[in-house]
């Protein structure tokens, strides 16, 4: 929380505020305004990607709380999203609940599931804990496919009907955008508040040294499980949004690779940073889409016939190279670049 000189809190309200100074207010309002007007300017395809980014941001906030703040590595975020998505859709489908009621319940269910998976964290740490969450990533889809295939659609999955609000069906990318963007903004504010509250500080204490944290009087067990709960809560919410965005769910959507890349996005963005979450999600998701254009684009310049193979292979190569280069040149993530940019902007033209 760096601020320029001369910005001083005079009241408790000011100290508690997230948005403090007048320029910050202006920027926030402008950014929200730009976000609100976005659908008017970009095409449906871009908006589709933007929606996916918003959903990813929601899920990634959860990973950030668990991994970035509390230091418990999770490789099962996609599985938690699957729990959220499936429980929401099944409640809508079989109990006739509306999406708006089913989603909070689904989030709670996911949260409880997260606490159960988090139980081993009381005994194990580090990479072994990651393996426990990895087991969840295999067991959850298996349960979905095999236990009650008549309800979950087994390997075929379920199609999801769009939710409606005041008679308006949320089918178009624009309407889904407003939903996802609102949720993403609110979950960002919530995540920011967690990070700077008592809970956030307790999480960080546990991350840095859990034995020391316990000695300091932090109930490590409670906070670790709380962290798992919050992480899964976010995952459940993201899963519900994913379901209505994709309009269909099956276990093939919530893969291990997806889970691992959530961790990757966090690292690319910057561990433990709320800004990092947003930047990381934007970077990896847009890169994934962008590289699908690179192969065909390069193939245009090549003699016909040779290009078809390049189309397939170039995307993953470019993706890997960009991520690797990024890790090498800025291992602290995009959040660090952002900080540097802010510092540069403030001090310009007299750097240092």
């Amino acid at each position: 929380m760096w601020r320029p000189c001369g910005v001083i809190d005079e009241t408790y309200e000011q100290d508690l505020a997230i948005v403090r100074t007048f320029p910050q207010w202006t920027l926030t309002v402008a950014a929200l305004g730009a976000l609100a007007l976005l659908p008017a300017y970009v095409s449906g395809v871009t908006l589709n990607t933007v929606n996916h980014i918003a959903i990813t941001i929601v899920a990634l906030h959860g990973v950030n709380i668990l991994t970035g703040l509390t230091g418990q590595i999770t490789l099962g975020q996609a599985a938690f999203m699957a729990i959220g998505a499936y429980s929401m859709e099944m409640m809508v489908r079989y109990w006739g609940l509306s999406f708006w009621i089913a989603t909070p319940i689904a989030m709670l269910i996911t949260g409880v599931a997260g606490v159960i998976i988090g139980l081993p964290s009381l005994r194990i740490k580090g990479f072994y804990l990651a393996m426990a969450t990895l087991a969840a990533q295999f067991i959850v889809p298996w349960i979905i496919v095999n236990v009650r295939p008549d309800l979950t659609g087994g390997t075929d999955g379920l199609t999801v009907s769009p939710p409606s609000i005041g008679g308006l069906q949320l089918t178009s990318q624009e309407s889904i955008f407003y939903l996802c963007a609102t949720v993403a903004v609110f979950s960002t504010v919530f995540a920011r508040n967690i990070a700077r509250s008592r809970y956030g500080r307790a999480f960080i204490a546990i991350r840095d040294n859990d034995i020391a944290a316990e000695i300091m009087g932090i109930a490590v067990v409670r906070y670790k499980l709380l962290s798992f709960f919050l992480c899964s809560l976010y995952a459940g919410l993201a899963g519900c949004l994913y379901a209505i965005w994709m309009r269909g769910i099956s276990v093939e959507h919530f893969t291990l690779h997806e889970s691992i890349w959530y961790l990757g996005m966090l690292i690319v963005g910057g561990m433990g940073s709320v800004v990092g979450v947003i930047l990381g999600a934007i970077m990896i998701r847009s890169l994934t889409i962008l590289v699908t254009y690179i192969g065909p684009w390069i193939a245009v310049f090549l003699p016909p016939g040779t290009g078809t193979v390049l189309e397939l292979g170039l995307g993953p190569i470019v993706f890997g190279v960009v991520v690797l280069a990024f890790l090498i040149y800025e291992p602290h993530g995009l959040a660090r670049i952002w900080e540097r940019f802010k510092a540069f902007y403030r001090l310009w033209p007299y750097s240092y």
Binding site: V45, T49, G154, D156, Q173, H253, S286, L287
Partner: protein, 402 residues
């Protein structure tokens, strides 16, 4: 460092605008067809050859059949690389193109199933694999070959008809534990098998990554079936046949479209004598006029042996079908009437369409959205030789949608 990050941002921005530009990079004087598939991901061994197949077929149609009344057709190929969310985004790109393609071909079941309702909302017609969940309840999806259990049904019927012994022929199912593999394990299939008098003695599943199937095969052997049935492809049948050979059990395997040339080429000696149900003519009927036409383009475009597979022909088949339907719609309703409703009306009335001098036969109806013919092939010395002509498949749609 600063310069690096700046240039990175710049690169992303440039790429972003390239992407924007590519949305409008299609010529108004041509008709676009969306072709989406997993050409490089896990399903690529099966659907990969669709790409060359589609390209060759449209080349043929534009050159020799004159496009659609002189207007060129242009397939827009999208490889989703095994990622459902990338596929979803590519689909959105296709439907936001102007003019919007009417046909979108899907060579990937999970995506086709997830987007089933979107096809209706976006008013496009989609051609999808023969898996029940992407077709029913009836929407805007049409399969390019018969449902997987229906394909198996053709083989079962043929065996039953030629069965000499007194007791019923016995079959064991060993199939992939995936949506694709399980597609043949339906209630309708079991009921129908009972009705025609064949016994399904056991059903075993195995994982797509299993290297050894000993327990499954041991259990099947205990039931003593006459044939094994599978719905798997590439490594699946290979693992089954290797396991069978190792345990010294000489039994023939029945497969659906997954057991095509590509799979057999992995180890031709292993698949000797196996039965496969396919809905198209065989590459090995070299004298057939339709295969001759296809092979002209196959060799002209330097396709390799790896492309010699069912989905290369499916690429042709789908292109021929779309060409025929679009042509008909334009003829009947003019250019203005070229929309999804008319296309579907035309498709629903299609009866025994046999393009290219009968490379396959296709019929659709309002209620039944998959072709209804298949042929039984026997693999002999690595060649697929037909033992029947195109025969009507049993109707094994999910019962509630009949």
């Amino acid at each position: 460092m600063k310069r690096l990050s700046l240039s990175l941002v710049l690169m992303l921005l440039i790429a972003f605008f390239c992407m924007q530009a590519s949305c409008f990079a299609e010529k108004p004087e041509s008709i676009s067809i969306g072709v989406m598939g997993d050409f490089s991901g896990p399903y690529a061994p099966v659907v990969g050859p669709t790409r060359p197949g589609t390209l060759d077929a449209w080349q043929y149609l534009n050159k020799e059949a004159g496009g659609i009344q002189g207007i060129k057709l242009e397939p827009i190929l999208k490889d989703m690389g095994g990622k459902v969310d990338v596929g979803q985004s590519q689909y959105n790109e296709l439907v936001s193109m102007k003019p919007k393609p009417i046909f979108i071909d899907m060579y990937i079941t999970p995506l086709a199933a997830a987007l089933r309702n979107r096809f209706v909302e976006d008013n496009v017609v989609s051609l999808v694999p023969g898996a029940g969940e992407s077709l029913y309840p009836v929407g805007n999806s049409y399969a390019y070959y018969a449902l997987y259990p229906e394909q198996i049904g053709v083989v079962l019927k043929w065996i039953k008809d030629n069965w000499k012994k007194k007791e019923n022929p016995k079959f064991g199912i060993i199939t992939w534990d995936t949506g694709y593999g399980r597609a043949i394990v339906t209630e309708e299939f079991y009921n129908w098998a009972e009705k025609i008098g064949v016994d399904i003695v056991d059903t075993q599943l195995f994982g797509i990554r299993d290297v050894d199937l000993t327990p499954q095969l041991m259990k099947l052997r205990a039931k003593n079936p006459d044939y094994l049935i599978t719905n798997s492809t590439a490594s699946g049948p290979l693992a089954i046949k290797k396991g069978l050979k190792e345990m010294g059990w000489d039994i023939k395997l029945i497969n659906t479209s997954g057991g095509d040339w590509g799979t057999a080429a992995l180890d031709p000696s292993l698949f000797e004598g196996d039965l496969v149900a396919l809905h198209v003519k065989s590459f090995d009927e070299v004298d057939d006029p339709s295969i001759k036409t296809v092979m002209t383009y196959f060799t002209a475009n330097n396709r390799t042996e790896k492309d010699k597979s069912l989905f290369y022909l499916v690429g042709w088949q789908v292109a021929l079908l779309e060409h025929k339907i679009l042509n008909q719609v334009v003829k009947d309703h003019g250019w203005k009437g070229l929309n999804a409703e008319n296309v579907m009306k035309e498709l629903n009335n299609l009866k025994d369409f046999a393009p290219l001098e009968g490379i396959t036969k296709m019929s659709y109806s309002e209620k039944r959205r998959s072709p209804t013919v298949a042929r039984v092939y026997k693999i002999t010395k690595g060649k697929f030789l037909p033992v029947t002509d195109f025969v009507e498949t049993p109707d094994l749609r999910p019962a509630k949608f009949k």
